[in-house]
Symmetry: C2
Subunit: 338 residues, 2 copies
Amino acid sequence: MPKSAPTIKEIARKLNISFSTVSRALHDHPSIGLGTKLKVKKLAEELGYEPNQTAVFLQQGKTYTIGVILPHLAESFFPAAISGIEEVAIKNDYVVLLGQSLDSTEREIMLVESMRKHRVDGLIISMAKNTTNYEHFEKLKKSNIPIVFFDCIPSMKEIHTVSCNMISGSIQAVSYLLKKGHRVIGLINGPEKLTASKERLEGYQQALLKNRLKFDPSLVVNSDLTKEGNIKALHEILKNKRKITAIVAFHDNLALDIMQELDITKQEHKPVIVSYANLPMMQFLKYKPNASVEQFPYLQGKKAAEIILDIIKNKNNEQNQNNAFYKIILDSKLIDYH
Amino acid sequence: MPKSAPTIKEIARKLNISFSTVSRALHDHPSIGLGTKLKVKKLAEELGYEPNQTAVFLQQGKTYTIGVILPHLAESFFPAAISGIEEVAIKNDYVVLLGQSLDSTEREIMLVESMRKHRVDGLIISMAKNTTNYEHFEKLKKSNIPIVFFDCIPSMKEIHTVSCNMISGSIQAVSYLLKKGHRVIGLINGPEKLTASKERLEGYQQALLKNRLKFDPSLVVNSDLTKEGNIKALHEILKNKRKITAIVAFHDNLALDIMQELDITKQEHKPVIVSYANLPMMQFLKYKPNASVEQFPYLQGKKAAEIILDIIKNKNNEQNQNNAFYKIILDSKLIDYH
DNA sequence: TAAACACTTGCAAACGTTTGTGTAAAAAGC
DNA sequence: GCTTTTTACACAAACGTTTGCAAGTGTTTA
C-alpha cells in the first residue's frame, strides 16, 4: 500500500516547526536560518517531497498550463505546430493540454469548455474549418482567458493572431511557373469562402498582374478537397478551351490526388504542378509537385506560444489597459524540389 | 478590466445564504430546498459561474488529467495513438496533457517530472528509444501515479503494458513472400536490442521453420534507422552470396529509403519488399512496398487509455491489493497493397 | 404536551500551499 | 544594563471547493 505523497505539514510535524517555516525554507526565503533550512531540505529530499501543484495553482490562481485546440494531428502541419508550442512551453515551465476538434464545431465547443474548466492560463487555437459561430470564443474572452489564434482564424475583432501569408507564396508559385514559360496556368483552389483559398487566388492574380497578363476566371476551379472533389475539379479545369500547361494546387494532398488521376487517365501532356504545404513526406516521393509553398508551422506554433506567454505574464500589469492585439503574419515561401 | 471569475462565495453573499448551501444546491444535494436550489442555479447561470476546478482538484486529490509522453508526433503512428487516447479521455471527462520526449531520455525525465508536479491522475508512455535507465519510472510508481506503457515498453517487472505483437505480422509477411515463391528473403532489421527488432526476427524465423526452411543468419542485417544506415544495410545485404529476391524491411520509412536507393543505383532485379507500419501516406505513393504490417496505433491508444482510467477509478478499492498487471497484446496484421 | 422526526440550512474543518504580520530571543549599540 | 535593531521563527488568513456535523424550523406521533 503506497503511502500518499508527503506534504509540507508532514515535514513540519517531524521537525517540530511550523509549516510556514518549511515552506519558506524550501523557497530559500532570507528570513530562515541556515540550520533549519538545511534540515528541512534534507528531510524533504529523504521523503521525496514534491510540492502539490494543485494547491499552488489554487493559491496563485494559475495552472502553468496552456491549452491547444486544433483540428487534428493527422495533417503534418499540426504536429509541427505543436512542437513549436511545446518548445516554448517547456522553456517557460508550462505544460500543454491538447485537444483535437476533428473540424467539428460541436466538439470544439466542448473542448473549449473543458479547457476553461481546467483553468488553463491561455489557449492557442486553430479553428475547426466549418466553425462560423464564435460564441464559445467570446465566452472565453469574457472569462479573461487569453487566446491566440493561428492558421485557421475566425473573423473576429480584437483577437491575437498568428498566420502565414499565403499571398507571397502564391506570387512566388505563379512567378515560378511564368518564368518557366507557362502562360496558361490553372488554379485548383479550395472551398471559396476559406481565407486560405482567397489568399491563394489573390496571389495568383497579383502575379499575373505583375507580369501584365490578363486574369482568366475560367482557369480557376474550386474543390471541396475530398479525393473525388479533387479529381472532379481536375477534369473540369482540363476541359478549358485553352491548353493548360501548369496547375497551382491548393495543397500537396490535392496535388498528389490529381497527379495520380493524370497518371491513371494517361494524359499525354501532363501539366507541371506546384502546390502548398511542403509536407515532410514529399522527401520520400518520386513523383511529386515541382515545388510547394512552405507555411512554417513550427514557427507559427512557436510565435503563438511566445505571444500567449507574454500575455499571461503581463496580465496584471497596467499594460493590459493598452488594448493592443498581436497580429503576426509570417511570409510563406516556395520550395523548389528540383 | 475584466472581473475575476465568480465564486461560490460570491453567490452566497448575494443570496445571503451560506456557501455550503450554494455548493450543495449546485450539486443537487437532496437536503436543499427546491426554492433555494432554483435561486442559486439561476444566479449561477446569470453570473456565468463555473466551479474552479483547481480547488476541486485540491479537495478531491484528483486532476482528471492523464499525461501522455511519447517520442514525437512526426511519425503518424503517434497521432493515431493520441486520437485513441483522447477519444476515451473525452468520454470520461478527462483531459490530455501531452509531451514529446524526442527520443531523448533526458527530456523524458523532465517531462515525467513535470507531469508528476502537475499531478496527473495517470500516465501513458511510449518510451524514448534509447532510454535504458528506468529510475524516473520507478519514482513515478512510488508516487502512486499509475502508468501504462505502450508501443515502446521498458523491460521492467510489474507494469501495465499495451503492445502490438509483431511476431504474428512478421510471420504473415514472410509467409506472403514464401507463397509468392521467394526462397531467399533478406531481413533489414532495426537496432538489435530493440524489442521491436527481436519480434520481427522471431517471426521471420518462425515462418521459415513452419515452411521447413533453414534460417540463414547472413540474410539478416541491422540498421540504425538513419537514412545512411538504411542504405548501408541494403548494400551489405545485397553482397550476400545468395541472390536475394525479397526483403523484409523494419519499417515503411526504411523501405522507402532502400527503394529509392535501389532505384538510384539501378539494380536490375529489384527485390520485392514488405515492411511495417502501413503509414497513411502509403495511399499516395506510387512506388511502395508490396505490403506492410499494420500495428493499430489507434486501438493501442484506446486500450491504454481504458486501462489507465480503470486503474485510476479502482485505485482506492480493495482491488488494488490484488496486484494484477494488465498486459494487452494486439495482433498485427499484414496489409497487401496489391 | 412532550418527544420524535423530516426537512433545511449554517458552521467549520479539510485539501496543501503562500505570504503578511506578530513576536520571541539574540545581537548590537550606547 | 538598558534600549534598539536584527534574526528566526510561529500564527493565521487566504485561494475555492466539498462535506460531516450541528442546529434551527415545522410537522407528525404517542
